[in-house]
Amino acid sequence: MAGRETNPNFMNGVPELLILRLLHEGEMYGYEIVQAIRNRSDAVIAVGEGVVYPVLHGLEEDGALTSRRRTVNGRSRIYYSVTPAGSLRLADLALDWNKLTTAIQTMLTGGQCAEAIR
């Protein structure tokens, strides 16, 4: 099975942030999460769709997510939702991401960033 072109290096840490942000709004299952990421990013963010599950499993093992099995339209789905620890992690990741993008933006426009990437 040939894979399509993705941007895995750039995506390090980003799937966690996006997934936590989406699930902060309500519980979803894997396919829904991937669709939501694609729709909201205008398909700019490209990952192999199956790669979302290791991220979900990892976040659940870390206590950031919880899951439950639900049967919808005769099909069993595993729905994920954010725990209080996951909300804290989301806040931390969002803060780091904002710092990072600000620093990169400042560098791209030729300025200097006091809070360099640490």
């Binding site: 099975m1 040939a2 894979g3 399509r4 993705t6 895995p8 894997g30 396919y31 991937v34 990952v47 192999g48 769709e49 199956g50 790669v51 599950y53 290791p54 991220v55 499993h57 990892g58 093992e61 870390d62 099909r75 069993s76 789905r77 595993i78």
Partner: protein, 243 residues
Amino acid sequence: MLKPFDELREKLLRGGVAPRHVRRYLGELGDHLADLRVEEEGAGKSRAEAEAAALLRLGGMDELAQAMIARRQLQAWSVRTPWAVFGVAPLLLLAGAWCVALAILWTGWNIFLPGADTPFGTRLGAHQMFDLANLYFQLDRFIYFAAPILVGWGIGLIAARQRFKAVWPTAGLVLIALIGGTARVHASRTGVPGGFGHISMDFTLGSTMPLIPYGLIHVAVILLLTVLPYLVWRLYKGRELSA
């Protein structure tokens, strides 16, 4: 539907991902693949085209495997700490089973043979074969002798499920066979008349030279009984993969 994931399952297990995560991952991928196929068919593609497009969107096998393998928190304990799973845990299990066996022996001795100097060597008549006392002591013997074999099978099962290479499971099986084959139980009364029975264990191949071959045979029998199912499974799996 899960046929495309057979190769992925083997990669994940060999990569150290815990079997429970592998099972769930493959289930979720199967559901996701079905959703993608429906979506592609809804876009006007034939079933075969939709299937191919769905697999492409799901991701390459290496990408799917690496995404799981790279996450240490999804790895099995047997991969993270093989010394604990194949060394310490079997020893603790064996010790626990033997504690139960010795407790049964001690209580049986005091309840059913209160006057005897030892619980060993008491001959029962044919009419006593199904006595509670006999069944009690036979249960004790079963736990004592079966414990190393059951623990060894447990090691083989964990190794087989995780597609482990032979080194750690073999080390665990040899350790269990050595401990199981060299263990000896002693029982005696204290010097005081009517005193409590005293039960102890030691580990030796034989107290005298002529007994050493019997100890070695006991070790070999345990090793053979525990290794055999694991070896058969490895041969079966090897043939299955080569086919």
